[in-house]
């Protein structure tokens, strides 16, 4: 099976990665944050040219952010999730724009919604939220209900709500 072959190949080249087959056409590769760039370059060279998305998962109970690079290889027809973790306080990571150019938009997105800074990213600015005045909203400790009460107010029929 192509998935197992692929896992074997990756583990042969990089002894430090954790790789396993999740299900048909889904492979998971875990790697530490220092080693990810070289693994990424290698994966790109063996056909994982399409970066589907970069997901960020907030896990405050472990004090980490998990970054998941969703890769797809058109030749092998395998979806590979490249996972790494970064610490939660003052999160910082390197950009992957030179490996997959479309990491540009996803990294800007993650910066906006999780507050992870990507070194080397040319354009980290607020793209979707304008004039945001709180902690990044997709973090688990962002209390959206309290924010809504503060920003939009609570419905109070006693007040001068009805006009005429």
């Amino acid at each position: 099976m192509i998935e197992e072959e692929l896992v074997r190949k990756i583990v042969e080249v990089f002894s430090y990665v954790e790789a396993k087959v999740k299900r048909v056409r889904r492979v998971e590769v875990k790697v530490s944050r220092e080693k990810l760039p070289e693994v990424a370059k290698y994966l790109r060279s063996i056909g994982f040219k399409h970066l589907s998305a970069i997901s960020c998962v907030d896990r405050p109970q472990h004090g980490i952010f998990e970054l998941v690079y969703h890769l797809w290889s058109y030749e092998n027809r395998v979806h590979l999730m490249l996972k790494t973790t970064i610490p939660r306080n003052k999160p910082k990571y390197v950009t992957m724009i030179n490996v997959w150019p479309n990491a540009f938009v996803y990294e800007r997105d993650i910066w906006e919604f999780f507050g992870i800074e990507f070194e080397g990213h040319p354009d980290l600015r607020h793209f979707i939220l304008d004039y945001w005045d709180d902690i990044p909203p997709l973090r688990k400790d962002f209390n959206h209900l309290e924010y809504i009460k503060r920003k939009y107010g609570v419905y109070d029929p006693e007040k001068e709500y009805y006009l005429r």
Binding site: V68, R77, P101, I128
Partner: protein, 378 residues
């Protein structure tokens, strides 16, 4: 405020440039804005200004149960909601590790292809308005209405169907529905020829979009472009074949491709996809098996999903639509990440392709990419 003053913005040295803000109050952009810097009649730089439609789906999904998320998350892409709900359902199915019954697979295929056709017909409206030919747009929306009616009969709703569910589909096909569908399919096949005559083979359309906003296969793949925009560059990459789901592995269909990767190829790939979708519907109706429509799923109120993560994707009318769902074992997802096709097409690719085109071509490029603003903002 005069033209001279306008030209002074950003005019370094001898270059006289001015800014045009296209959208959100504009016929073509929907709720989405592009700020283009124009020199003479040529666009020097385009900057996308999105976020007018941000509803924070990814935050909302964390606070709703798995079942409640189905009616929420399908609202991501408004013209084509069925693909979103199917992708989410498939991700949950992967987490629960269940296989849906054969009949549900076929019904899903039929529904998804109907959704693709109606999304493409809706796109035809926008595309034809972008070049100033309103007739075909009016026709195509009226023809889309026939599919919407069938959807209404099948699912009970016009736009947001909430039909493809984790585990299968919600209702079985009503009596006589397939005959009506066949009638509409035959009608649509005839109408497509009329569209061809008026619009798709129109000389002016060809002169306007041939060679416009070209992109090569290599570039497209490295930018993450998917769907008809990628196929227009000449490669038959379609997730219905590559990462098959529903009943697509059992159905025989070809994948239309373009040749040059320009705007006209993108238009024609979409137009041929309508035809192929009609064929898929015909085949699926013919081979429709009998049996249950829903796999056994946990109790809807105690829908605890085992911990883990799953990524499911479908080939929507616009490209790869994926959901990454992380579960921590409770009844609510820990994280849902939405991978919409327009997030690439409508931002990075659009900014790239809009460089050095004429002002008049901006809506043509925009519509030929078929981006969907709510999907960019999520």
């Amino acid at each position: 405020m005069s033209i001279q003053e306008m030209r002074r913005i950003g005019g370094e040295g001898s270059r006289e440039t001015f800014e045009l803000i296209i959208g959100p109050v504009h016929m073509e952009t929907e709720n989405f804005s592009i700020i283009v810097t124009v020199e003479g009649d040529t666009v020097v730089e385009a900057k996308v200004n999105a976020g007018f439609l941000h509803r924070a789906f990814e935050k909302l999904a964390e606070n709703r149960t798995y079942i409640q998320n189905v009616p929420l998350l399908l609202r991501v892409c408004v013209p084509d909601p069925d693909h979103a709900e199917t992708a989410y359902s498939m991700a949950v199915e992967q987490l629960l590790d269940i296989e849906i019954p054969d009949r549900a697979k076929y019904i899903r295929t039929i529904v998804l292809e109907m959704a693709r056709i109606s999304a493409h017909l809706f796109w035809t409206f926008g595309m034809s308005a972008a070049v100033g030919l309103y007739t075909v747009g009016q026709w195509s929306v009226a023809d889309r209405e026939r599919f919407i009616e069938l959807f209404e009969e099948l699912t009970g709703a016009r736009i947001y169907h909430i039909y493809n569910f984790p585990g299968g589909v919600r209702y079985d096909i009503p009596m006589g529905w397939t005959d009506k569908l066949m009638k509409v399919v035959n009608h649509m096949e005839k109408r497509l020829k009329e569209y061809d005559k008026v619009f798709f083979e129109n000389d002016i359309l060809i002169t306007r979009s041939r060679g416009l906003a070209k992109i090569s296969t290599e570039e497209a793949i490295s930018l993450g472009v998917t769907g008809p925009n990628l196929r227009a560059t000449g490669v038959p990459y379609d997730f219905r074949k590559l990462d098959p789901y529903a009943a697509y592995p059992y159905i025989d269909f070809e994948i239309p491709t373009g040749k040059y990767g320009d705007a006209y190829d993108r238009i024609m790939v979409r137009r041929r996809e309508i035809e192929i979708s009609l064929n898929i519907i015909k085949q699926a109706i013919k081979e429709l098996p009998s049996g249950p429509i829903m796999a056994p799923i946990p109790h809807p109120l105690y829908y605890n999903v085992p911990p883990g993560d799953a990524y499911a994707r479908v080939e929507s009318s616009k490209g790869e639509f994926g959901f990454y769902v992380v579960s921590d074992g409770s009844d609510r997802p820990w994280r849902v990440h939405i991978r919409g096709p327009s997030f690439i097409h409508g931002v990075q690719l659009l900014e790239k392709l809009l460089k050095n085109v004429r002002i008049a071509d901006i809506p043509v490029v925009l519509k030929s990419l078929d981006n969907c603003p709510p999907d960019i903002d999520r």
